[in-house]
């Protein structure tokens, strides 16, 4: 019986062998998991394990062959993911991205995965299968296993993003997939909870009209009930880094928690925080108070305050976001009325901008 806190890397000291060892050590170190990585160059022991190809990794009596067929990089990523998964990826941040294979959710996945890469986080692809009445009938009468079918869809989807496409593949966020059955809203919230997700990235339907229709009912539920921040990615949004985050507020006193959360998120990217106050009905601008709060958490050089005087709040904020090339707009759920104002009516110009701007909902 092998020690469960030990990983053996079997090989002959080649460059690939060394790379496997160093990558495993790096990830285990980053995740803060107590596992030791040991090299094993003894050819006799390869035979004892029944290994024909090296390098190979042995963990918990499980043998992972690397590079025996297919891509070395992809095999290495699979080994690292499988080992770290046992301890829920340790200290590494986790970004949960629900997918339903629609274009909207595929785009949100691409966006979230790219964001996770910049954050050094792990991407969790969560698919919830919720059988329709038709599928239940077809499954019984025609003997189709829809559960299995959707599992295969999920595997294929993840493989699409996880295949080898460059030498920098280890730099790209690891992808772990999770398959669940039930009601999407509840299951995704359970997954966020079980994975202790630091962020959830979810696609929005991008439809105009009512608030719920804009985001979709599942997104709305997650946005309201998730304990951690939620990033809502519209279909037209593409990731170009996070350089400028706008925080729109009106006259409500901000609580400290939201501000520090915003500061720590922006700090990860070294992004500017644009505090936009909309003067609506002569309410005095509490911007100085906010910047003071933020300065304690964040370099003051990166805080920009501005005030917009307009009758149409959403148009004012949208125009500001376009001219300043804002990457993410951020709001707190405390101010749902304000959020609705931003999205709830359908002026064509506003719609075109909001269909490209991801929305970070803080708690």
């Amino acid at each position: 019986m092998q020690n469960t806190t030990e990983i053996k890397v079997l090989g002959t000291g080649t460059s690939k062998h060394q790379m496997v060892t160093s990558v495993l050590k790096e990830y285990i170190n980053k995740a803060g998991i107590e596992i030791t990585v040991n090299d094993c160059n003894d050819i006799d022991s390869f035979l004892n394990y029944g290994i024909e190809l090296v390098p190979a990794v042995i963990y918990k009596d499980q043998i992972f062959n690397i590079g025996s067929n297919g891509s070395f990089n992809v095999a290495l990523r699979k080994v690292v993911t499988a080992i770290l998964k046992n301890s829920n990826f340790g200290h590494l941040e986790k970004i949960v991205i629900p997918i339903d294979f629609s274009n909207v959710s595929s785009n949100a996945f691409a966006y979230g995965h790219r964001l996770a890469t910049d954050l050094g986080a792990v991407t969790k692809a969560v698919h919830v299968f919720s059988p329709s009445a038709n599928e239940v009938v077809e499954g019984t009468t025609e003997n189709i296993d829809f559960i299995k079918l959707h599992e295969v869809y999920l595997e294929d989807f993840v493989a699409t993003f996880d295949h080898d496409w460059g030498s920098d593949l280890m730099r790209v966020s690891l992808i772990d997939s999770e398959y669940r059955t039930g009601f999407p809203g509840e299951q995704i919230l359970d997954s966020i909870d079980e994975n202790a997700a630091d962020l959830t990235v979810i696609g929005s339907t991008g439809k105009t009209g009512f608030f719920q229709k804009w985001f979709g009912s599942v997104s709305t539920k997650i946005m309201n009930e998730s304990p951690s921040p939620v990033l809502i990615v519209p279909e037209g949004a593409n990731y170009h880094g996070v350089h400028r985050i706008a925080y729109a507020y009106d006259n409500i006193n901000q609580d400290k928690k939201v501000i520090s959360e915003l500061a720590s998120f922006a700090d990860r990217f070294g992004a500017e925080i644009h505090l936009i106050h909309v003067e609506n009905g002569g309410v005095p601008d509490p911007g100085y108070y906010l910047s003071e709060l933020l300065c304690k958490e964040y370099p003051s050089a990166l805080i920009i305050t501005s005030s917009i005087k307009t009758d149409d709040i959403s148009k004012g904020i949208t125009d500001y976001c376009i001219t300043k090339s804002i990457d993410i707009i951020s709001l707190s759920t405390h101010k749902k009325g304000f959020l609705e104002l931003l999205y709830d009516d359908s002026i064509s110009q506003k719609v075109s901008a909001m269909t490209k701007l991801p929305l970070l909902v803080l708690k």
Partner: protein, 146 residues
Amino acid sequence: MNLLGPVKDIMTANPYTLTPSATIGDAAKIFDEHKVHHIPIAIDNTLLGIVSMSDYLFFRRGFLDNRDDEKIEDIRMNNYEVSFIMTKGIATMESTEKINVALEIFKENLFHAIPIVDEGVLTGILTTHDIIKNLAKDNEAYAEYD
């Protein structure tokens, strides 16, 4: 083509370039519209790397057997920057160096393009295609000092 002439005689001056933050989709557009095979990646004409058609096709490789997934392919290309697939630390030449030096570099290595950099500024690109094009213009290559 005078093999002892400077590379600036046959190089492609002012090539199409992209910044590292441009998406792979932007690179695809240049490959498609301008029929080039190499795009130097630069900021303000300072060279940082190069993206070749092979780098691009390698990125897309997973889709080539499944043409139904074009939408996901677009999504991926629009969310990844060229900096992910570009080759860094590449060989460069000055525009005054001789063509036969470039021939030696191409002979010894597997790549097909050398960015031409003068005093830190990207001024052109020399590809194996430029050499073939110029050879085809002449009846034969010759060597002669000016």
